[in-house]
Point group: D2
Amino acid sequence: MSGSTLGELFRVTNFGESHGPAIGCVIDGCPPGMALSEADIQPDLDKRRPGTSRHVTQRNEPDVVEILSGVYQGKTTGTPICLLIRNTDQRSKDYGNIAESFRPGHADYTYWHKYGIRDPRGGGRSSARMTAPMVGAGAVARKWLGEAYGVCIRGCLTAIGEREIARDDWAQVGSNPFFAATAQGIAELEAYMDALRKSGDSVGARLYVEASGVPVGLGAPLFDKLDADIAKAMMGINAVKGIEIGAGFGCVAQRGSEHGDELTPEGFASNHAGGILGGIATGQDVAVSLAIKPTSSIRLPRRSIDLAGAPTMVETHGRHDPCVGIRATPIAEAMLALVLMDHALRHRAQCGDVRVLTPDIARQPSR
Amino acid sequence: MSGSTLGELFRVTNFGESHGPAIGCVIDGCPPGMALSEADIQPDLDKRRPGTSRHVTQRNEPDVVEILSGVYQGKTTGTPICLLIRNTDQRSKDYGNIAESFRPGHADYTYWHKYGIRDPRGGGRSSARMTAPMVGAGAVARKWLGEAYGVCIRGCLTAIGEREIARDDWAQVGSNPFFAATAQGIAELEAYMDALRKSGDSVGARLYVEASGVPVGLGAPLFDKLDADIAKAMMGINAVKGIEIGAGFGCVAQRGSEHGDELTPEGFASNHAGGILGGIATGQDVAVSLAIKPTSSIRLPRRSIDLAGAPTMVETHGRHDPCVGIRATPIAEAMLALVLMDHALRHRAQCGDVRVLTPDIARQPSR
Amino acid sequence: MSGSTLGELFRVTNFGESHGPAIGCVIDGCPPGMALSEADIQPDLDKRRPGTSRHVTQRNEPDVVEILSGVYQGKTTGTPICLLIRNTDQRSKDYGNIAESFRPGHADYTYWHKYGIRDPRGGGRSSARMTAPMVGAGAVARKWLGEAYGVCIRGCLTAIGEREIARDDWAQVGSNPFFAATAQGIAELEAYMDALRKSGDSVGARLYVEASGVPVGLGAPLFDKLDADIAKAMMGINAVKGIEIGAGFGCVAQRGSEHGDELTPEGFASNHAGGILGGIATGQDVAVSLAIKPTSSIRLPRRSIDLAGAPTMVETHGRHDPCVGIRATPIAEAMLALVLMDHALRHRAQCGDVRVLTPDIARQPSR
Amino acid sequence: MSGSTLGELFRVTNFGESHGPAIGCVIDGCPPGMALSEADIQPDLDKRRPGTSRHVTQRNEPDVVEILSGVYQGKTTGTPICLLIRNTDQRSKDYGNIAESFRPGHADYTYWHKYGIRDPRGGGRSSARMTAPMVGAGAVARKWLGEAYGVCIRGCLTAIGEREIARDDWAQVGSNPFFAATAQGIAELEAYMDALRKSGDSVGARLYVEASGVPVGLGAPLFDKLDADIAKAMMGINAVKGIEIGAGFGCVAQRGSEHGDELTPEGFASNHAGGILGGIATGQDVAVSLAIKPTSSIRLPRRSIDLAGAPTMVETHGRHDPCVGIRATPIAEAMLALVLMDHALRHRAQCGDVRVLTPDIARQPSR
């Protein structure tokens, strides 16, 4: 296996390393007949791209996607779609001083022990660059989900370090460098980030992503529950250390009389469940929060060992994100799309004939 | 698929419903030649069993496990091991008043919309009873991991509702009804729980589980990362709404200079990573926290709808857990064992020939 | 993995050994809402049962199936269906003289080398008894396929040893002990078999199985082609050594001008393809032939080695089939049903929205 | 799924169409540390290449392979290996007259009904060109199997049409255009093929492929048996309609006293089993025969229908193989390598600790 495939029916196999010739993915199982071109995919890649503001890594990759297969006369054929992205701006010399040691908090040590070999350039396979093909695949999934069910997916940051970020105006997400869904406090965040970058350190972030229009019924208990697969996909994103669905860790102190979302003919009275009950979508917004750890590649010297196990110091130079969480937003959106896509096909496989007369209350007009 | 199988190489397929004739699982891929009998499995099932204190549900199931296959002359044969547990104490009449409506916070509504049919007795397939076979399978995995690598797995509650529970004395876990790793404040917890049960409401909990002795190298990036598969397995446990690895959501406010665990010849200087970097085990303790929501089955009346969508009230009677988190501890231990077992086999499949001279610092004698 | 699961969406996991307490399977992914009871399954099991004529093994197992889960009020719930069959007539002493050696042509030697342990009683896991749960699962699949698409599956023997058997009257299949689709030559076959049994030897057989009403479009190239999955499932049946689709090995000498089945508005002009082109069903009858080797357990003495590798002689006594091919017919029908079922769900997952105006010529009234 | 992935642990995902920009595959799960470069792969691709003799299709593709990932400093890293092959010699106009009809014996009709869309150029995804990436992946597998276990794989044609071809001199395979393992009758075959090509028709073939040095124990009963997975992989090759293991259909008339291969301390006395018993390798040569149907693309006019279902005639021009079986030999070798590779990793995952004292008689020096 080796674990580079996500999904069962809408199956995405990712390949490539940070400084190899190219990165990409193969999407197998896409329904046929959907209009698709590079123009449907490139915008999402551009959102993720490094070098788009001074607050993110300064590697300048155009990330131009090429569709190598699976599309004929502008429509998906049902056969595998290969997306290819050539690497163009690898600066291998920036990483030269870490080939013989292991950066704390990074995968250098574990890749070395697992494989007995590692590509140290830019983190090799462990680089966040490997999320680019997933964003490409996510764009395909989002298109199909939008056309088939009217699903909308959107994400934003809700905290950078100890600074909370309000979520009160989604229209602002594209207007600031932080994917913040607010107009409040942007200037303060900019100053905070500038100071952080100068200090050479890094900080974590919290990210929120939601999907509306999700059809009731998606999810396959007991183990391929919708939230379980979302957790798996999100935890697979570089630097993620925590995941919550709905009220998440807030559930711990809640009472059942408060947490349980009551049902009415006009819809659910609340959404502490985050849109998922018993592992199956209720039709309400699927709401997910992620905890993203601070970047491991910082300019401050840190203790480590060398290949022989002797003590050494590590100091990373070159181009780095002081807060990787900022660029994770389009990635989390893409992963959510991929999981929903996979489950949409799985649900129709097993339950395509099911007809239920009980109203789908999450779709009531009054909501 | 239908999602009732966990794992790729140590593969567990779960079957059964709360009030059906029997529940169980089939374990496929267990290495041959390991001593195994019901006596290796029954103790873990007993820890999970309902009816063991007044603070958990009063359904009295002996949960006696029977091994139907895969063992010959006391040793595993490498062929599938079927574990069967007969249900004996189903009281269907306790659930009679919910067949025509949907309990808020429960899977009734979603199972109905997904399948167009549901077994309402005891929650049917969505019942926490379905964790019993997983605890059985987990016992098999724990035995092998312990014998092969010296892996130890243990869990405890770290919060019930708003009450934090210290983790300062693992020896206490079996001595109180809360799987609390402390001698402090047990009487207060008892009083708290008695009041809660009388009130008819429920509360959430936070659970901590760790594994020591985990071999460095387990995990298969990019998507079958060890933490991603742990997140998936844990989110599959009934009522789990959040998962953290290591520092978890505490990472958000951390600096990289603090979070990144430095390496020294004597071992890692800290374990904010929770034993996993880049999705691969470092050899340090794997540390996981779960958020468990308050039970949805409470005696307080709640608004809902009936099958036709008309408003109604729901009030659940019968035997229920006021805090399902209490009994989740052995379940979380089992799920962690299953994920580690699966990854142990996967790692040796791909990397069985790898030899690395760099010391495995997590195993240094000074630790 | 360990290989005891067949299928991706209609997934059957088989467990048990010939002389263990019970055998069975878990079916995961069955669509919900279908009427199902033991009465739908038992007849197929009875067809397969040992002891039904003097020409097959004389072990007398009632093979009574019990549904342990996945059915509520007589309908499938969409949750896993466990079928259990208790073993009652194990005569372990019949196998006593082979625990220390390896029967030629049997799996004793390979199981020993693979697992380092084997259950020698009745062949353990390698026994043809393990096909019984598959026949049970096949009955569930046949019911669904019949109700959903009008699929019919039937098989017969077309050769026993060097004796060809005509296929000219399907109505005869249940009227003779050979699943022969003819009234011709049955008495001669009986005499032939009596002589064979007395001689202590065994002979091979050729089996034919077909499915009509198969929806056009089933099959998932490149590797999960319908014929590829059929070949895999059939080769998984004990003693199968060859598989043909349509003209099979007869293709070798055919010309393309003869082999290629022409298309007309009234239907295909022939069916050399066996109902599958490019790995996808055409809608024509799917036609499969199997070669079944002669039983390895014979009463004639044969050379072998013991556990230490020293030469020894092996002579099997007890109850054996002189021609295992006779009872393979219901098994092959079941396996074909399972593959078609799995592919029916897979096809609707990916292509459920496809609408094609070109006529489905295999379904033309004139055929 | 969509079925474009072969294997569980050594997993190959194939993408591309005959006339798209490129074809290729992603190999996930390759053990790390093996020396690998394009030079290890290109020779096998060259053997498969079209245009290498007048008896095969005259499309002139250089089939130059490029490794895009998974290799660092000349060694496999354990991360996915992407092989890319650019298409350069597509002559779309050669296929222009079949966009509106369906070629008998080809996948045109089934792809149209399944997907509602098809790429008709060169057969699109159903083209035998899609075997090129598998030959590339097979080269990687062969290298590892050769270095790890000394496995050797070789194939040859044993019949073209009604003409049998002797298998008496493996050294001749590369010396004639037919992959014939004999010096006998080559000129007669050339004349036969020239006449066939002039006639515009095509003929089938029978192909034999064997692997020596296979470790005893490979295979995962009941359903992932080694022969079952071989059958699946081979049936997935374009135009294959039949598969035999060992004595194959010759088993039907054999007696058990003849078929069962006796065991002696010096080795097995025969190999009717084809190297596999109970689905597990014995250590003897794995012997497989395939039946390959005659090419469906012939110049003779044939009856068909158009997209509206009205009768029409089809006549294919352009570049075609009068006997596709000739070029199938390196493909069958590659598929056998891929299955053995996958099973080698699976076996060591589950049974890596097994130690058996009984001699591995297939490896005895006297053989």
